[in-house]
């Protein structure tokens, strides 16, 4: 297992860190074109669809760098969720039609799967696609669809006839029967809730409807979780860096507050939490494309750790800044909010600790591959 970046990963990291530094200094929206030019939209998609065939570990390198810059583009929604689902499960027609347009930046996607009664579980979809002549009529509710309001197409999960296998459909937000309610998220982004009322879909809208859909969703989501954990690690590192600078310069009682032992130890605890989060995230990202049991266990451990550690680092980053940390003007609060959002996305620490227990079953941990082994 390799923790050190490959040459390609190092190049990717450097380019992304440069981008992130510029963005932090002068935040801009509308960077999607640059994402396309830099090949980032193609990165995790299959080569036969115009992608670069990159691994989850590659994506993690990119996301960690972007996390340090508070970069806010709909990469998770369009590429890592809906894009990769289409890639993994879609018909060859749909793949050929849509993925090149995702790669070149023309098309934005959303993944509409969660419903309020599901809480964080991936199972429990109640939205229904009722067969009607040669169509399906889609009805149901979807919540917290990231960047859903801006999506050109939605990948929507629904049960065939309410009790059959889970299926994925492609829906255009402008279709009759689709109601969209966009709103802001805590970290300054956007999400939307959807109501579908007998939306008429035909064969051209069917992405997949077989017994593999649920497993594919689970895999794609686990891989996306590794990616946002990496983003969180980048944010945590930046919080530690900003805080270190602040406590070194802020003076009270005649000394820099960073000379006080309580402050120093608190910062060290932030640093340790970041090191832990980085370690488990990297291990999870490397395992995410392989054996399903190992992927599940490690992604769960990473998400549980990042949810808790990210909140701690963000909160203490604010606390060590004092009152200035509570203002919208100052960066630290923005990192805190993004860390809290990532901590909640797809499930909190409790949920993933429980999932880890389920994944490992009653057995002890499987021995991990040692460093230096080629796996």
């Amino acid at each position: 297992m390799q923790f050190e970046p490959s040459q390609d990963q190092a190049l990717l990291r450097d380019a992304a860190e440069r981008f992130a530094r510029e963005h932090l200094a002068s935040p801009q929206t509308g960077q999607w074109r640059r994402f396309a030019e830099l090949g980032w939209l193609a990165l995790p998609l299959a080569e036969d669809a115009g992608g670069l065939g990159g691994t989850t570990a590659d994506v993690a390198v990119l996301m960690e760098a972007l996390g340090g810059g508070l970069v806010r583009e709909p990469y998770l929604a369009t590429v890592l969720l809906a894009g990769r689902l289409l890639d993994a499960a879609g018909t060859s027609d749909l793949r050929a039609q849509l993925l090149p347009r995702v790669v070149n930046g023309e098309m934005r996607l959303g993944f509409a799967h969660h419903e309020p009664q599901m809480r964080f579980a991936l199972s429990g979809v109640q939205s229904t696609a009722s067969p009607s002549d040669s169509k399906w009529l889609l009805s149901g509710r979807k919540a917290l669809v990231l960047d859903g309001g801006d999506a050109d197409r939605l990948v929507v999960s629904a049960r065939i006839d309410g009790r059959g296998p889970l299926a994925l459909f492609l829906v255009e937000p402008g279709m009759e029967g689709v109601k969209v309610r966009p709103y802001r998220t805590l970290d300054g982004g956007w999400a939307a809730d959807f109501e579908f009322d007998r939306v008429a879909l035909d064969a051209a809208h069917l992405v997949a409807a077989d017994d593999q859909v649920e497993a594919t969703i689970e895999r794609v989501v686990d891989q996306a979780i590794c990616a946002i954990c990496a983003e969180a690690v980048g944010a945590m590192r930046k919080v530690c860096e900003i805080t270190r600078d602040y406590i070194g310069t802020r003076r009270q009682f005649g000394v820099a507050i960073g000379t006080q032992q309580v402050v120093r130890h608190r910062w060290v605890d932030m640093h340790i939490a970041t090191e832990e989060a980085k370690s488990i995230t990297q291990m999870a990202a490397t395992a995410a494309d392989g054996d399903a049991d190992e992927r599940r266990a490690l992604a769960s451990a990473a998400k549980a750790k990042v949810a808790e550690a990210g909140r701690f680092v963000g909160e203490q980053g604010i606390q060590l800044h004092g009152a200035i940390g509570m203002t919208d003007d100052y960066l630290i609060g923005h990192f805190y909010k993004r860390l809290v959002v990532i901590g909640t996305l797809f499930g909190d620490a409790d949920y993933y600790a429980r999932r880890l227990a389920g994944a490992a079953g009653s057995q002890a941990w499987r021995p991990m591959s040692g460093p230096g082994r080629e796996d």
Partner: protein, 397 residues
């Protein structure tokens, strides 16, 4: 209460409950429930209602308009008050500058300023912190230079809550730059409409405007607005810090919100059953319940000591530390109960118009804003690190 309540105390408690149930507007109670700040007009109206009953100035001596309650009765009142969901009254007049004025002010100053505090017609703010003087307040630099029968005041105050509404500001200013820190500070009452006063909003993490940056540019303040002797302002400041710490642990407010959390956990679903039946969540809820009961017991024990005549030293610091930590945990747990909807954020005061915004349950509105705003609990009012220093110094030297 440690000892059984006397029948008079029981009657009093019933009287308070009845009054609050009959008079607290539902809108104000709902805002407390959600952790939203009360609107200014509604708060002023409520304060007037309380004052009409004689209960606004709950800690004031009788000769200045207070109800003359014992410590025990004041405790009872505060407990029932916050448990009912009544909002904290604007503290700057009633619990801060008012007591300073009747303790250190001249007869003339009392006659001039106390009526506006009593009838809530004067809105006060606190000019203490500066960009360079937070925890180290004594290092403040706002300068007040004597010029005939005025002081000319120049400097900056920051983190001034609600200065945008304020009529008056009580401020600590430096009247003697040569004296050592605390010994050169005076306590001045500054008219916010005076020429040279500029208020600049500071937007918080919750995207709301509560805090401000106040710039003072050669503001002329009459000498009659100085409370106490020149260069003796720190005495007023210390008095204020040590005064009125009865509710610093926020027990009543936290109990009220814990009730809300239990309602939310019963309404939210996880794995096909109410969230309150989820073992992980209920475990944390129960541990919080324990800690809150412990906090209440500790507050009562310290109160008993006070009633018995012991002088409190570090107890307010201990209560502040634990009260704020528990308050933050509670607000965090309320947000966690929302599941994915913890990610949606509505900065607006009112829930969005029907048919727009997230399709979230009605109980969600306000929770995330409340949690965000109260990250400041461990920072303001003397940070918890400073509070621990106070306790440490007392016992460890």
């Amino acid at each position: 209460m440690p000892a059984p309540l006397s029948s008079e105390d029981l009657e009093f408690r019933e009287e308070v409950r009845t009054f609050l149930a009959a008079n607290l507007p539902a809108g104000l109670r709902d805002r407390s429930f959600r952790g939203l700040h009360p609107r200014r007009d509604e708060l002023v109206a409520w304060q007037k209602t309380l004052h009409e009953r004689g209960w606004l100035l709950s800690g004031w001596p009788v000769e200045h308009g207070g109800p003359g309650w014992s410590l025990a009765r004041r405790y009872l009142f505060n407990h029932e008050y916050f448990l009912s969901g009544a909002p904290q009254v604007s503290p700057f007049g009633v619990t801060m500058v008012g007591p300073v004025i009747y303790t250190f002010g001249t007869q003339e100053q009392q006659e001039r300023f106390l009526p506006g505090i009593r009838n809530s017609d004067t809105w006060w703010c606190q000019g203490y912190s500066e960009p360079g003087a937070g925890s180290d307040l004594a290092s403040l630099r706002t300068r007040a230079v004597r010029d005939g029968d005025h002081y000319v005041v120049s400097g900056e105050k920051i983190w001034t809550s609600y200065a945008q509404h304020a009529d008056m500001m009580f401020a600590l200013v430096r009247t003697s730059p040569d004296a050592k820190a605390q010994k050169g500070i005076s306590f001045l009452l500054i008219d916010m409409k005076a020429p040279g006063v500029t208020v600049r909003p500071i937007i918080g993490l919750d995207l709301n405007h509560t805090l401000n940056h106040v710039f003072l540019d050669n503001v002329r303040v009459p000498v009659e607005n100085r409370i106490g002797e020149e260069n003796a302002g720190w005495t007023c400041a210390k008095f204020l810090l040590g005064h009125e710490r009865l509710t610093v642990a926020r027990v009543g407010r936290s109990k009220f919100q814990l009730g809300r959390l239990k309602q939310i956990a019963a309404a939210e679903q996880a794995n096909g059953r109410p969230l309150c039946d989820d073992p992980d969540f209920s475990h944390r809820l129960h541990r919080l319940d324990v800690d809150l009961r412990v906090l209440e017991a500790m507050e009562l024990r310290f109160l008993s000591a006070q009633i018995a005549g012991h002088r409190l030293t570090v107890e307010p610091s201990i209560l502040k530390i634990r009260g704020t930590e528990i308050g933050q945990r509670l607000k965090g747990l309320i947000v966690e109960a929302l599941g994915h909807y913890a990610i949606a954020y509505d900065a607006a005061d009112e829930p969005p118009a029907s048919g727009s915004g997230p399709m979230w349950p009605e109980h969600a509105h306000g929770a995330v804003a409340d949690n965000l705003y109260h990250r400041a609990l461990t920072i303001f009012g003397g940070s918890n690190e400073i509070q621990r220093n106070i306790v440490a110094r007392h016992f460890l030297g």
